[in-house]
């Protein structure tokens, strides 16, 4: 008997497996359990629904090929359409919307109708909060569920659970775009700024590359202390440089550093150039080099007199060349553009021309 090799079954053409949908709202989520559970009765077989005539789906363009889909799905939605048609506002309608949502939580019309029912029937919104909490936990990447939660929070005027809830969702996926939007809305609407910076720091401790957390950091500071007080700016610059030392190849950190310094200018921050140049040894990255290019570019523009223009221009051009040819070749067109722009703006004829570009 020959020995069979057991191979790790890697996906066909991808090294990193990522089975959850990376998009904000991807394909409609399929409910896998489509065969009715034992004891489940289709609506068309329920006595108490006999008064309602189900309304079959009518999409328009004719089918050529018929493939059977879930009987339960068709049945529930036939009755949902019937309820809509009769504008029925009842407990059974509300219950059915829950089932329709379970089958397809992205169907915005079902959510609309549920909200109409909640109001018409004057339902206990605390119960609804529990309901939407469970739905979101199950399907956190869906516009409708988050919007529904927001409506309920607004109706209740009660944001007290929201920070904890969004934190819980973010603990499962720290970059969930919907969760962040909801969190930002709650904080801003109900002025819940206290403790948010600490929360952001916790997240960055866990994953310093979490771009959403960096964005949140900016969100909080720009809307509370702002970056104007020198102590705040100093603190943030040093914080960011520390994070860069931990993980040099981190686009978010570098974007943040550039972003917070842009208003006052990179070159106006004392000692910054030395700090960044000092990182080149152990923490070099295309971002660091790009930052230096930005720095030199700004220096050339402001021409504060303390810079030797030719030397600065040559440094910048040298870096652009290094990036285009070696360190960030995929973006060579960008770096060549930057070099050309600098050359045409500042070259007084004393600089050496850049190496011939390889086409």
């Amino acid at each position: 008997m020959s020995v069979e090799e057991i191979s790790n079954s890697l996906p066909e053409a991808a090294e990193e497996v990522q089975t959850n949908n990376e998009n904000m709202e991807g394909e409609p989520e399929m409910a896998y359990d489509e065969s009715p559970r034992e004891g489940y009765v289709l609506y068309r077989d329920r006595k108490e629904w006999a008064d309602l005539e189900p309304v079959p789906q009518d999409d328009g363009p004719n089918p050529v090929v018929k493939i059977a889909y879930s009987e339960r799905f068709r049945d529930v939605y036939d009755y949902f359409r019937a309820l809509l048609k009769h504008d029925e506002k009842s407990e059974r309608a509300l219950a059915l919307t829950a089932e329709a949502i379970e089958l397809n939580a992205a169907n915005y019309t079902v959510w609309h109708y549920r909200r109409v029912l909640l109001q018409a029937l004057e339902k206990d919104l605390r119960v609804e909060m529990k309901y939407i909490t469970a739905i979101i936990e199950d399907q956190p990447k869906n516009y409708q569920v988050w919007h529904h939660r927001r409506m309920v929070v607004e109706w209740l005027s009660d944001p007290s659970e929201e920070l904890q809830f969004t934190a819980e969702i973010l603990s499962q996926d720290a970059k969930n775009y919907h969760a962040w939007q909801h969190r930002q809305w709650v904080i801003q609407e109900y002025k819940l700024w206290a403790g948010e910076l600490e929360y952001v720091e916790e997240l960055l401790e866990e994953d310093v590359r979490n771009n959403s957390a960096w964005n949140q950091r900016h969100f909080v500071i720009s809307r509370t202390t702002t970056y104007s007080p020198p102590k705040v700016l100093e603190r943030e610059v040093q914080y960011t440089i520390r994070q860069i030392k931990k993980a040099p190849h981190n686009e978010s950190a570098w974007n943040y550093l550039k972003g917070i310094l842009q208003p006052t200018g990179l070159s106006s921050y004392a000692g910054l150039l030395e700090q960044v140049e000092g990182l080149q040894g152990s923490c070099c990255s295309p971002y660091l080099l790009g930052f230096l290019v930005d720095y030199y570019e700004e220096a050339l523009e402001t021409n504060g007199g303390k810079y030797n223009l030719t030397e600065t221009l040559n440094k910048a051009l040298g870096l652009c060349d290094l990036l285009a040819q070696d360190q960030d070749t995929i973006r060579r067109e960008y770096w060549r553009y930057v070099a050309r722009t600098l050359q045409s703006k500042y070259d007084s004829g004393e600089t050496s021309p850049p190496p011939t570009e390889q086409q």
């Binding site: 996906p11 066909e12 053409a13 991808a14 090294e15 990376e22 998009n23 394909e27 409609p28 989520e29 399929m30 489509e34 309304v55 009518d58 999409d59 328009g60 363009p61 004719n62 089918p63 090929v65 018929k66 889909y69 879930s70 799905f73 939605y77 359409r81 397809n104 992205a106 169907n107 915005y108 019309t109 609309h112 516009y143 919007h147 970059k175 775009y177 939007q181 930002q184 801003q188 590359r209 771009n211 964005n215 949140q216 720009s222 993980a247 040099p248 190849h249 981190n250 686009e251 974007n255 917070i260 842009q262 923490c283 070099c284 990255s285 995929i330 973006r331 060579r332 067109e333 960008y334």
Partner: protein, 320 residues
């Protein structure tokens, strides 16, 4: 892949991945999609049917196979989706929404049959969704998002009725969503995201306000989406996804920086996302294909010029 001792979040394209465009498979995939009315995925996507039709039609048009789709039935379908308020829904029996109002107008523009619906009412509907701060709600339930700003002005521009809204205020709101990295999010303060950036640059193009964008800064952020595999992600430190080829590339085209992407590498990534058996494209090589990806992909392979793509996307060419 590791650089400087740290893992880069990316995928690797295997050598046996598809490397040429299997056009007929894709055309068949789309043509068949509309015919599988009882198909589960088709049923499940009823809530976005109008957009699905638009995407499918545009791809077929790009492939020169628009005549395979049933124009009159589609137009009748659209008519049946216009509500009393003027807004258009994703499908019959659904509520009106800006997203599907735009898709409907785009389809009718494609067929040059805009008059099939009550245009004045559509305009009223769109105008009525503008808020005091210039933003747009998606529908009467009030969700605010820069996506809806784009939908609103794109719809009105196609109908020649931009006058129906306060464009200045609308611009003000969108600009308030510009972030420290030059990108845009869905609301002020929201993280920059390629999809939102597409909507905002599209918006600014339509309203003649592209000069308000820092094209070099935003262009750099956008070309930073390209990973070593050649694919594009939607924001820093996320995996590449083929749909971002559209959002990112279209945005770059709008701001005149499309050449900052390595075209050959992107092309290879996109082709590798094809499903050779069923047609269609997956979000990244090896995953299951989905209709919604197919459109964006078609042009990214470079056989159709960018202007053509945007013409289909907006119904006209935005100024560069």
């Amino acid at each position: 892949m590791a650089i400087n001792g740290t893992q880069i979040k990316d995928v690797v394209i295997k050598p046996d991945a598809p490397n040429s465009l299997i056009l007929d498979k894709h055309a068949d995939y789309i043509a068949a999609y509309g015919s599988k009315k009882d198909d589960y995925e088709y049923t499940l996507s009823e809530y976005l049917r109008m957009s699905g039709i638009y995407w499918g039609l545009t791809v077929m048009d790009l492939m020169g196979q628009l005549d395979r789709m049933n124009q009159e039935e589609i137009i009748d379908f659209i008519k049946s989706c216009q509500h009393d308020c003027g807004g258009i829904s994703a499908s019959t029996g659904h509520d009106p929404h800006l997203l599907y109002t735009l898709s409907a107008v785009q389809i009718l523009t494609l067929y040059d049959r805009v008059k099939a619906i009550d245009v004045d009412k559509v305009v009223d509907y769109v105008g009525g969704l503008q808020q005091e701060d210039g933003s747009f709600a998606g529908d009467k339930w009030g969700e605010i998002d820069t996506r809806f700003s784009f939908c609103a002005v794109a719809t009105l521009a196609l109908l020649g009725r931009l006058d129906a809204v306060d464009v200045g205020k609308a611009v003000e709101f969108v600009l308030s969503c510009m972030n420290f990295d030059g990108g845009f999010g869905c609301r002020p303060g929201s993280e920059s995201h390629a999809g939102q950036i597409y909507c905002c640059t599209g918006f600014l193009s339509i309203t003649g306000q592209l000069h308000q964008v820092n094209a070099d800064l935003l262009g750099w952020w956008l070309c930073e989406r390209q990973l070593p595999s050649g694919g594009l992600n939607g924001r820093p430190e996320k995996l590449p996804d083929v749909c971002y080829s559209w959002w990112v590339l279209a945005a770059l085209k709008i701001i005149g920086r499309i050449h900052w992407i390595d075209k050959a590498k992107l092309r290879a990534f996109i082709l590798a996302c094809q499903d050779e058996e069923t047609g269609g494209f997956a979000d990244r090589p090896g995953d299951m294909p989905a209709l919604l990806k197919a459109l964006w992909i078609r042009d990214m392979t470079g056989t159709v010029p960018g202007n053509q793509l945007l013409k289909e996307g907006f119904g006209y060419c935005p100024s560069q």
